[in-house]
């Protein structure tokens, strides 16, 4: 076994690092509550967080509240010191200057995706957030899935609607902490006062999308954490499927099955071809077509050169933390059962990975 050391830092060390990070980070931390639809309770969670922080002795102010439906939170907001918004035209916007002047430890900012009215310092609210953080003030905010730019195509496919203002997904990824505010769609329609006119099916799809986005962010955080703490190899919780393409294998079936499995398990699809010498032209063309097909299915394609194809596949699979290898059954003559086929070798050596063998297409 290689050096897959899972060095657990001791808790003292962990705490010390967190505190050190806090002390040295001139940058304020960003915590985002992500909801999959309006009225799931993001703002409530945000104010709740603010209240808890005050209880713990932190200096918390409110920088922005929801433009509409304020009445729901009015009693909550009253518990906090509010930085009066800046009024430009007839639109209220975050008063960044006033917040910086007041310089609290934490500022609560709702509706992070809002656009600022013309004449503001920045066109978008999330840019104000960046400036506030740059001044060492922590920001706790809330946002809806429909306002995450890279998710807007998917959201539009589900709801048929598209919000005009958005934040880049990188803003979500830049958060130190992301919390998913999950609630079953039934409750939204039951108690939510019917503010969102989406069907339960649409809400369910949005909910799944939001959870997967959050899972992605969390996975990235895990990777960052492991990198930062000398934990060499993360296996994550994701399935990583490697399809081995050879000139004769039923590559299309393997790729489709791999793509399906990757989608089902929310995993990652890889395809590999180890170059073989002196391939007949039609075999060469078949490989090229299969690799194109792999790309079309969203696979990450790698072409390697190595006189030992099975060795190359094994090495690649280990490096890429593959969890499942898809390969064609051996085509070695069946009567030669005492000769170990290359596939045999793969099965024996692929420790920690599933090996799935596919039947070859019937010869035409």
């Amino acid at each position: 076994m290689s050096s897959r050391e899972f060095c657990r830092p001791d808790p003292e060390e962990l705490l010390r690092q967190i505190q050190e990070q806090e002390a040295h980070e001139a940058y304020g931390r960003l915590k985002i509550f992500l909801g999959y639809a309006p009225r799931v309770g993001k703002s409530l969670r945000m104010f709740d967080e603010g209240r808890r922080r005050i209880k713990r002795g932190q200096d918390v102010v409110v920088g922005a509240v929801q433009a509409k439906g304020l009445s729901d939170f009015e009693h909550l907001v009253r518990e906090f010191e509010m930085i009066p918004p800046l009024r430009i035209g007839d639109v209220d916007t975050v008063n960044t200057e006033a917040i910086l002047k007041r310089c609290p430890q934490v500022v609560l900012i709702d509706e992070l995706a809002r656009d600022n009215p013309p004449g503001s310092c920045y066109p978008h609210r999330w840019q104000d957030v960046a400036e506030i953080r740059a001044n060492g003030i922590h920001v706790v905010g809330a946002i809806n899935l429909q306002h995450v730019r890279e998710q807007q195509d998917a959201v539009e496919r589900i709801t048929g609607r598209r919000s005009s203002h958005s934040v880049p997904e990188s803003f979500i990824h830049s958060a130190d902490e992301l919390v998913i505010v999950d609630v079953p769609p039934e409750e939204l329609s039951q108690y939510g006062g019917g503010a969102s006119n989406l069907t339960p099916e649409q809400l369910s799809q949005l909910r799944e999308l939001a959870l997967l986005l959050a899972a992605e962010v969390v996975e990235e955080q895990l990777q960052r954490y492991m990198d930062a703490h000398g934990i060499q190899q993360s296996w994550g919780t994701q399935e990583r499927i490697l399809v081995c393409i050879t000139p004769r294998s039923s590559a299309r079936a393997m790729l489709e099955s791999g793509a399906r499995a990757a989608a089902r398990f929310h995993g990652h699809l890889l395809a590999i071809y180890v170059k073989q010498k002196e391939l007949p032209r039609e075999a060469e063309e078949a490989v090229v077509a299969n690799l194109d097909y792999a790309r079309k299915l969203g696979a990450e394609v790698h072409v390697l050169e190595n006189p030992d194809p099975i060795g190359a596949i094994l090495q690649f699979a280990r490096e890429q933390r593959v969890t499942q290898v898809f390969i064609g059954h051996t085509q070695q003559a069946a009567w030669k059962f005492w000769v170990h086929s290359p596939v045999d070798r793969l099965i024996k050596a692929a420790e920690g990975m599933d090996v799935r063998l596919f039947p070859h297409a019937q010869p035409a």
């Binding site: 967190i18 915590k31 919390v179 954490y225 059954h329 059962f337 799935r356």
Partner: protein, 348 residues
């Protein structure tokens, strides 16, 4: 069971560790339901000495616990009979994965919950993702901890609603340090063993993906069930597990079950008759996960299993590399999809 009565609805509050707030949210929901005029009781509540959570039970009716005596010791657990006799509309039952105390009528709390649901009572319950049976290996793999108390997947899938209770690992670690979750001594131990930021982050991701998966499953259930067809033949997938007496059998069963569930296809198992005694615990495990296991006779297991698979129209066979003469078997099943399932290597 109520004659002709409707089965109760099951709602699971899913978390990724102790202290994320599952019970708190469950109780909040209980209050909410009560405000909306529903008859709600607490069937079982585990206070763990957490003040905020205990405060949240105020104003809710408790069903007193039942006292069991077993070999001179006294234990307390949920009084399922009393919950059913009281017949509320909704019962909150904490810790779905709990193993009942010795002497109780049933082994597992989820079995009691099934009875309460059968009686037409809705149930709210709490569960951590690491207690889901088919994720057991994955959890061990990311955390190094074998979770003993598990709930079969089919039970979790019966839930009408799964809600993810989310909090960041950082916030959870803060709670732990402040002694909100455990008493100081236990907290220290937890911090050292389980509550590392990487463990928590990995489990959190798992819980998110599991909830997403459950939502997708449920949506598909509502549509007409469409079994996945085998790509090449257009046949419906049929899955066969080849069991051999080796500790990896448990993992094979879990994986087979999970994949069959994903594909919506039937899943059966075979084993050599001579292994029956050695396999007994695994055969029991199969029954728990609703997999039919059949003994086959034959001098040469690889041949016998291959023949059986062909006869049954199996499209996918799952085995481990510990099966006898696995190369020979693979050679005999070149017309089928064969997966050699590996024990995932745990780093460290």
């Amino acid at each position: 069971m109520e004659s002709g009565g409707k089965r109760g609805k099951l709602k699971i509050f899913l978390g990724y560790a102790a202290g994320v707030g599952k019970t708190y949210q469950m109780l909040t929901e209980a209050h909410e339901l009560r405000r909306h005029g529903r008859d709600v009781v607490i069937g079982y509540f585990e206070p763990h000495g957490r003040k905020e959570t205990i405060a949240q039970t105020e104003g809710l009716e408790f069903i007193p616990r039942k006292v069991y005596e077993h070999r001179g010791s006294v234990f307390e657990d949920m009084d399922t009979g009393a919950v059913i006799a009281r017949h509320p509309e909704v019962a909150a039952v904490d810790e779905f994965a709990h193993t009942n105390v010795p002497g109780a009528d049933r082994l597992k709390r989820w079995q009691d919950v099934m009875l309460i649901l059968d009686a037409g009572i809705d149930v709210l319950t709490s569960l951590n993702v690491q207690h889901i049976e088919s994720l057991n290996d994955q959890v061990w793999h990311v955390t190094g901890i074998r979770v003993r108390e598990t709930v079969p997947d089919w039970v979790v899938q019966e839930a009408d609603e799964v809600v993810m209770v989310d909090v960041t690992p950082r916030a959870l670690l803060h709670r732990l340090e402040r002694g909100v979750v455990y008493a100081p001594e236990k907290a220290q131990k937890a911090l050292e063993n389980f509550f590392t930021e990487s463990n928590l982050t990995a489990l959190r991701e798992l819980a998110m993906r599991q909830t997403a998966h459950q939502i997708e499953e449920k949506r598909e259930e509502l549509r007409a069930p469409q079994p996945v067809l085998d790509h090449t033949s257009g046949r419906r997938e049929r899955i066969l597990l080849w069991l051999t007496p080796h500790p990896s059998a448990a993992m094979l069963i879990r994986r087979g079950r999970r994949i069959a569930d994903y594909l919506g296809s039937p899943c059966t198992a075979v084993y050599s008759e001579k292994d029956a005694a050695a396999l007994e615990p695994y055969l029991n495990f199969c029954r728990n996960l609703r997999i039919d296991a059949k003994a086959i006779v034959g001098e040469e297991p690889p041949k016998a299993v291959a023949a059986y698979a062909r006869e049954q129209g199996i499209t996918q066979v799952f085995a481990t590399r510990h099966a006898p003469e696995v190369s020979k078997f693979v050679n005999l099943t070149r017309d089928m999809q064969v997966t050699i399932v590996a024990e995932r290597v745990r780093p460290g």
